[in-house]
């Protein structure tokens, strides 16, 4: 039954690809469910009993219990097709608040990185810049996933979150002294004054 489950997964590569990380898992909930694994049968088996079970497996194949994730009845397709409204909104909020939730973590990382201009802090700041910018570029795809009545608000919150991360990155640049905000940064563009009055001389000749 284990192999069966694996083969089932292999047959549905698109679904597996759609679940790359936890963030988009919530977004994937809204998609029609194709298959499901039932883990409940494995849960109450201890490893010892499992070994015993394998021993008995060699002798009596007919008495085999169903493998993990195997169900006799077909997956409840109908329930996936009509998702719960509250769930959609919850998933939507998860997606929208993702960037904001990362903010404290980013703050901590940036605090740890320090203000010295060296290769690692620079790399971290660059990463900090990259993520919201990438997110903003991929915003269409993300917004497509957000549905429901509060979608507008959620999209706005998502945007705000990314902008907050961007602001954090800019602030970090500022504290590191990478922003040309002082007049000293523009000093080399100041021309020395042109000499209009010429004066010269010396001791009496």
């Amino acid at each position: 039954s284990c192999e069966a489950a694996q083969s089932a997964m292999r047959n549905e590569p698109t679904a597996a690809a759609a679940v790359p990380n936890s963030a988009s898992l919530a977004a994937a909930v809204g998609i029609r469910r194709r298959w499901a694994i039932e883990f409940s049968l494995l849960h109450h088996r201890s490893p010892a009993s499992q070994s015993r079970h394998y021993d008995s497996l060699s002798t009596a194949t007919a008495q085999l219990a169903a493998p993990a994730g195997y169900m006799d009845r077909p997956p409840p397709l109908a329930g996936g097709r009509e998702p719960d409204g509250a769930l959609i909104s919850k998933r939507g909020w998860d997606a929208a608040l993702g960037p904001l939730k990362q903010l404290p973590m980013n703050l901590f990382i940036m605090w740890m990185a320090g203000n010295s201009v060296s290769i690692f802090p620079i790399m971290m700041v660059l990463m900090l810049f990259m993520r919201p910018i990438q997110a903003v570029f991929a915003m269409q795809a993300t917004f497509a996933q957000i549905e429901g009545g509060q979608a507008c608000l959620q999209r706005f919150v998502y945007l705000i979150g990314n902008l907050a991360v961007l602001a954090l990155a800019v602030y970090k640049c500022h504290t590191m002294g990478l922003l040309p905000t002082y007049e000293s940064d523009w000093l080399s563009f100041v021309d020395s004054p042109r000499r209009t009055e010429v004066s010269g001389g010396g001791f009496l000749l």
Partner: protein, 1011 residues
């Protein structure tokens, strides 16, 4: 066998160890002399003594045999107060001593040792090494200015010799070998002791000393024997008509003096009590009537050489037999004696310009036996002094050598065939002003005039390149033709080119070909240093080698000779080119080498001594050929100013020289040039040292009858009431890159960049600090910073209980100076930095700048200050200190920063400030001239090069030195050990690798698709 082998390897090890024991002279020994050169000099020769094996006494000869030094040498004392020994064959300085700042009264070779008399001190030197044997103070009390004289009494029969040294008050007789004082006598010199003069002459049984008190017009004679200090004869002679003992000559029994009218008066030293005029019979015999200009003693037996405008004559003048016709009229010349007997008489013919002819007569008949001509290039001027010496050749015949000093202070040595053996360019020890000239460039970037249209620029560029190509071709042809000639006058050894005498035309061509080999290098590090010496000579030194590329005597203005005619001819011995007041002889580069088809032009401003009128002379600084003739100006000049930009209107690119005459008329030189536009005002200022006055003038243009008249109006006047010591202004060509300083909190402190500031140091009596218990009262130094356009005092500060020597340097927005602290008895270095109060404004309505000041202790005396200059001013500045010990120290300006804090905060640390430490750090690595000590530094010139990191430093004084200075190290050049091959290999490997992997990846992708 094994033992032998061990022994061998042990010996080998020892040998190798010894090989390692070279003395290390610098940090990197292979870099000595790579980017720098030194030329040591002695200065203008005033006293000269020969040290030849032809000693007069047997003792001396044995001494020389003991010393084992058979090399002939000559000893000189010069106007730089240098005592030196120069090899008669090699012309090299064997040893050299810098005596104190007092003129050397005389040098004498006596009993195998060299004696010198200066500042009332008799010194004995070993001839071979120049070691000081002993030093005797002739007078107990040392005074500021001493007259002194030196005489040597050597008796060929008697072994006893004595050295007599006298000041105007006291005479000592010293045994030459031991330095033991034989006896001493007091001389009564009269009331005006400080100005009294003294001269002495040895006679067969002792010494005659003559002292003269010019204030009382009294002369005193003292005759001493060798045994005791009791004078055999003393006499007082009245001589009110005499101005100085320099117009007298003393011999064995006669003192001959010139009265103001130019006639000769004689005094018998043995019996006379009054001066007698020259008997008419004798005067007739002389052949010349006078008036005489000078009288010199020659030969030692009452033989005098008299010089007048019309000629010179040698006469035996004996005052005791004044009635008899004892005058033996001989042509002027020098008598060469050997062991008391006259061997040669050298007569000088010709006026000495470009060469002299010497007639040598042997002693048997004073008829000229052979004639030699000593010829030298015309830029040396005339002969000023001949120093002949005779000696015995190996075969027993007599020979002579002539060492000749010319007007330009150069020293030449000739043998008795008239062939020049060497020449020392001692004129370069008297450099007054220096200008660096870029060599002509090989690339044509600067051919195009800015501001033209595209087509005209293109046409200009094309024509310029064609011009350049033709020039190069011509130059190549010239080189081909002139090659044998240039090989003929090859250089003898480093620094002492043995130039062949040549007529002016070929000299010009050879100098032209010499200049042709001078082409600007890649980074413009190779330049010509055009120098003017105080003897009125111009020369160009190659900055890479120190060799003189060309030399030129500033010619006398031609107009003068024509106008004054005979007067000028008669006064020809007197008229010469000399520096202007205060030793100034400014050089102006009026057109640079950047305008290729037009030749560069430099101008020197000097004056001629006969009329005192200023003289302007223009020349090509690359080839050393004069442009036009020297011009004498009709009126005296107050000041001259080189306008910083050329006028673009006339296509001549000459920067006009503004001349301000004493009638406040302004003229331009050359007269046909026009003033460039774009300046709000042109100002001049003058510093009057005598009246302690500073005055400012502004150029005013008025239209009169459709002609622009130029005059100057006095705009301000500042009386300082204190003696002015030194002044310093910013160099007009200085580039400032950054207009502000970035602080730790990233704000900006704007520099107060006023290009028209003048720093003045004055000295006054200190009224605040109580006088010390011993010694004179304290003085104080005041530093003024004056805006020379408005005459406003921008800042000033007073240092109590301080005195000179002060040296000032002003650059960008800061000022550094050194002075002597009388109370703490130490040298101090102070720095001012000026910051603008708020933003940048015009200098006329600017607010007072904020001045930051700090002082530091300098643990060594300093003679001169300079600052490094770079092309864009990006590189950090270095202050260069010429120490009296002979070193040139490079000190980063960051050490001299008034913002160095006492309490360090992170903000200051961020800014890169060092905490304040009162002592300036002195490390031996900061001495840019390592062990090549430079003495009597008169000036330091820094020149920017094409490399931003590098500036050239040229130091002149008694020695010349040139090196490269890199204040921020060589940040714009790859290091010498940069591995080009490795980097290239890696880069090429990477490129090939990327191509290969691209191919492989494509193949793999294809295979994957197929599978």
């Amino acid at each position: 066998m094994g033992i032998n082998k061990n022994k061998f390897s042990f010996c080998m090890l020892i040998f190798l160890l010894f090989l390692q024991m070279y003395s290390v002279l610098a940090l990197y020994e292979d870099e000595i002399g790579k980017h720098d050169w030194t030329r040591p000099f002695v200065g203008r020769v005033q006293h000269l003594e020969f040290d030849l094996p032809a000693g007069t006494t047997t003792k001396q000869r044995s001494q020389q045999l003991q010393g084992g030094s058979s090399s002939r040498r000559l000893f000189v004392a010069t106007d730089h107060n240098v005592l030196a020994a120069i090899g008669l064959k090699s012309s090299r300085i064997i040893w050299r001593h810098f005596l104190e700042d007092a003129p050397v009264n005389g040098i004498k070779l006596c009993d195998g040792a060299l004696f010198s008399m200066s500042n009332g001190l008799l010194r004995s030197w070993s001839t071979s090494r120049g070691i000081l044997n002993y030093e005797i103070s002739v007078q107990e009390q040392l005074e500021a200015k001493f007259a002194g004289s030196l005489a040597c009494h050597e008796d060929p029969d008697d072994d006893r010799s004595l050295v007599f040294a006298s000041t105007a008050r006291r005479l000592v007789a010293v045994a030459p070998l031991t330095g033991a004082l034989e006896w001493a006598a007091n001389l009564d010199a009269g009331s005006g002791e400080n100005h009294s003069e003294v001269t002495s002459f040895p006679n067969p049984d002792g010494l005659t000393v003559v002292t003269f008190d010019p204030t009382a017009g009294k002369m005193r004679l003292h005759r001493f024997g060798t045994e005791s200090g009791v004078a055999k004869r003393t006499a007082t002679v009245k001589a009110e008509w005499l101005t100085s003992l320099q117009r007298c000559a003393i011999s064995v029994s006669t003192l001959a003096c010139l009265d103001p009218a130019g006639s000769i008066r004689l005094l018998s030293l043995s019996s006379g009590s009054d001066f007698k005029p020259l008997p008419p019979s004798l005067a007739e015999q002389l052949g010349h009537a006078g008036p005489w200009q000078s009288v010199e003693e020659i030969g030692g037996q009452d033989l005098f050489q008299l010089t007048s405008n019309s000629g010179a004559v040698v006469a035996m003048l004996d005052a005791s037999l004044a009635t008899g016709p004892t005058g033996e009229s001989l042509p002027a010349g020098s008598l060469l004696r050997y062991r008391g007997q006259v061997r040669f008489l050298l007569r000088q013919q010709g006026d000495g310009g470009g060469g002299v002819t010497l007639e040598a007569s042997s002693s048997s008949s004073l008829v000229a036996s052979n004639k030699i001509s000593l010829s030298f290039a015309s830029h040396h001027g005339r002969v000023s002094q001949l120093y002949p010496v005779t000696f015995v050749r190996k075969g027993g015949s007599y020979g002579y050598r002539v060492v000749m000093a010319t007007r330009d202070a150069d020293l030449h040595a000739f043998d008795d065939t008239g062939e020049r053996q060497w020449m020392r360019e001692e004129s370069l020890a008297g450099i007054v002003s220096v200008e660096a000239v870029d060599l002509p460039s090989a690339d044509e970037d600067e051919l195009v005039t800015p501001g033209g249209s595209v087509f005209s620029s293109f046409a200009q560029r094309l024509s310029g390149q064609v011009h350049h190509f033709i020039h190069v071709l011509q130059h190549l042809m010239l080189c081909w033709g002139a090659r044998p000639a240039s090989q003929a006058d090859s250089l003898g050894e480093f620094g002492y080119p043995d130039e062949a005498p040549a007529p002016p035309a070929s000299a010009a061509s050879s100098s032209g070909s010499g200049a042709g080999s001078l082409i600007r290098d890649e980074f413009n590090l190779h330049k010509l240093l055009v120098v003017a010496t105080k003897d009125g000579k111009l020369a160009a030194l190659d900055s890479a080698t120190g060799r003189s590329v060309w030399r030129l005597m500033i010619p006398m203005p031609a107009a003068a000779a024509a106008a004054e005619g005979t007067a000028a001819k008669s006064a020809r011995t007197e008229a010469r080119i000399e520096p202007l007041a205060g030793g100034q002889m400014p050089l102006y580069i009026q057109r640079t080498t950047a305008h290729f088809p037009l030749e560069p032009m430099a101008t020197v401003l000097c004056r001629d001594s006969s009329t005192g009128r200023p003289v302007l002379f223009s020349f090509n600084p690359i080839t050393g050929i004069g442009i036009g003739l020297a011009q004498r100006l009709q009126s005296r000049l107050l000041q001259a100013l080189l306008v910083p930009q050329p006028s673009h209107d006339d296509g001549q690119y000459i920067r006009p020289l503004m001349l301000l005459s004493d009638t406040l008329q302004v003229t331009l030189y050359p007269a046909k040039t026009a003033l460039p536009h774009g300046f709000k005002s042109l100002n001049l200022y003058t510093i009057d040292r005598d009246n302690r006055l500073l005055q400012g003038y502004r150029l005013r243009l008025t239209e009169q009858q459709q002609q622009q008249q130029m005059s100057a109006i006095s705009t301000w006047r500042l009386a300082l009431h204190e003696p002015i010591l030194v002044t310093a202004a910013r160099r007009p060509t200085e580039q400032v890159h950054s207009v502000g300083r970035v602080l730790g909190n990233r704000h900006v402190l704007y520099k107060y960049l006023n290009p028209n500031l003048l720093a003045v140091a004055t000295l006054a009596k200190d009224m605040v600090t109580p006088a010390p218990q011993i010694g004179d009262a304290f003085t104080q130094i005041t530093i003024w910073l004056i805006d020379t356009v408005s005459g406003r005092v921008v800042a000033s500060a007073t240092h109590h209980h301080s005195s000179g020597p002060v040296s000032l340097v002003h650059s960008e927005h800061w000022l550094v100076y050194s002075l002597w602290n009388q109370k703490q008895r130490r040298f101090q270095l102070s720095v001012w930095e000026l910051f603008a109060g708020n933003g940048l404004r015009d200098c006329m309505n600017a607010t007072q700048p904020i001045v930051g000041k700090q002082s530091y202790i300098l643990p060594a005396p300093v003679q001169h200050l300079a600052v490094s200059q770079t092309e864009r001013g990006i590189t950090a500045k270095s202050v260069l200190l010429a120490l009296r010990s002979g070193g040139i120290m490079e000190l980063n300006k960051a050490f001299l920063d008034p913002r160095r804090p006492f309490d360090m905060t992170p903000e200051f640390q961020e800014e890169g400030l060092m905490p304040y430490h009162p002592e300036v750090p002195m490390s031996t690595q900061a001495i840019v001239n390592y062990n090549q000590s430079l003495h009597r530094v008169e000036g330091m010139v820094t020149v920017p090069t094409g490399l931003e990191s590098t500036s050239l430093l040229f130091v002149h004084g008694t020695d010349l030195f040139c090196t490269r200075v890199q204040p921020s190290k060589m940040f714009d050049v790859l290091k010498a050990d940069f591995d080009y091959a490795f980097i290239a290999a890696v880069t090429i490997g990477m490129i090939i690798g990327s191509f290969v992997t691209q191919r492989l990846a494509a193949r793999k992708a294809l295979f994957r698709l197929w599978s």
